[in-house]
């Protein structure tokens, strides 16, 4: 019997394959399934509903125009879309031309994200790991990821040495991995 993970992945692939055939219904299905993720990430980065809607529209239109950009080797669709949303939102935040084409995003991921329940469980663990981090560590990680700040700017903003910022960010990521590995 195929696992839930396989089913969800296939179902996502089936949607993308249908979109490749120009199936607008499949596009709606994909939007209904993942628009919340894309919008949430964009809103978290941009803090502006209008700008987040623009990112949302931009990403799904790109998928409509170029559904071949996603294949399973790029990772699970939920994670892939979340990363694209983050990258696009950072580009918008910094008012620069998109630097990350959706075709370039590869998100290898081994964790259970097949169903909403799987995602929710994994996310609870990640949130738990974030909460358990010392505040300066969490803050440095979030500034880098959700604000797209180079480490030099984070150092400037926090008044901490560059080396400290580097160490905090790595330590934050390591503790995240440790929680996910248990």
């Amino acid at each position: 019997m195929p696992s839930a993970d396989t089913n969800a992945m296939t179902s996502d692939l089936a949607l993308v394959m249908a979109i490749r055939s120009g199936d607008q219904g499949a596009m709606t299905g994909l939007y209904d399934r993942y628009s919340s993720i894309v919008y949430s990430v964009a809103l978290r980065v941009l803090q502006d509903t209008g700008a987040a809607e623009d990112v949302l529209q931009d990403i799904f239109m790109q998928l409509w125009r170029n559904p071949g950009a996603f294949d399973a080797s790029r990772g699970k669709l939920a994670a892939w879309l979340a990363v694209i949303a983050r990258n696009r939102a950072i580009d918008a935040l910094r008012r620069r031309r998109p630097e990350n084409d959706i075709e370039d995003a590869v998100v290898p991921i081994e964790h259970d994200l097949a169903s909403e329940a799987d995602r929710s469980r994994t996310m609870d663990r990640v949130r738990g790991a974030l909460q358990a981090m010392p505040a300066p560590q969490r803050s440095a990680l979030e500034m880098a990821y959700f604000e797209g700040l180079p480490h030099s700017e984070i150092a400037e903003k926090t008044g901490e040495p560059l080396g400290t910022i580097k160490t905090r960010i790595r330590a934050g990521l390591l503790s995240l991995r440790k929680v996910l590995a248990t």
Partner: protein, 263 residues
Amino acid sequence: MSVHEEFAEDLALYALGSLDGAERQALERHLEGCASCIRELELLRGDLSLLALTTAGPKPPARARQRLLSAIANEPRLPVAQAAPAFPRRQRSWWPALGWAAAAALTLLCIGLLRQNSTLQQDVASPREQFTDQGSKLEQANEVVATLLDPEAQKIELVASGSKPQPRGKAIYQRRNRNLIFFASNLPPLPADKIYELWLFPANGAAPVAAGLFKPDARGSATVVNPPLPEGEEAKNFAVTLEPESGSHESPRGTPVIVGVGE
């Protein structure tokens, strides 16, 4: 393999897109030839995607959905796939009418094969070459799948001049992973209450194994992708029979329509 400690912090920053200047250049030079650091970078990117997924916010407003639907309606890309059901789920299915479900299954198969190929290459190819190679092969596989199973694609069989197209089939079988792809063409239309059945004939002479029931389309074409098969069965041959639609399909009862001739 473990990550080079002197690059560990920079790798984390690089994965975040927060590394710039000379440090970025130095790391990129190192990544050109370091498989363990590339692997670590992949893991970091995977971890970071989970960070993105933790953002729980409000749903987008209804107007955003309407905006997208209007935009795609104004930008039709290709004709809608004919007779394609809305969203079938994957199964190890043998029903050929689900053209794009078969495409999805076949895509999975290609990806699986290419991943294995990539794993085998891991220790012999340089990391960059390996990723580039894998990417281009996947792209190629996707294109092949899309073309093979596109309902709009013209399927024209070439035969000796003046001769009538005959029923034909091609089975591609990978015993190790129980993967089977079967294409048939020019099959006669099915009589009422009949159905075609594909059979695997084991190399050890055991009874034929059912490998999928199918109905061809109006042009006599059919596809069977990954029917349920026993593990490790070595095949001597494949055949298609015409069977009564009802009743048991565990052993051939009907007449052979096409039979394999070996490689």
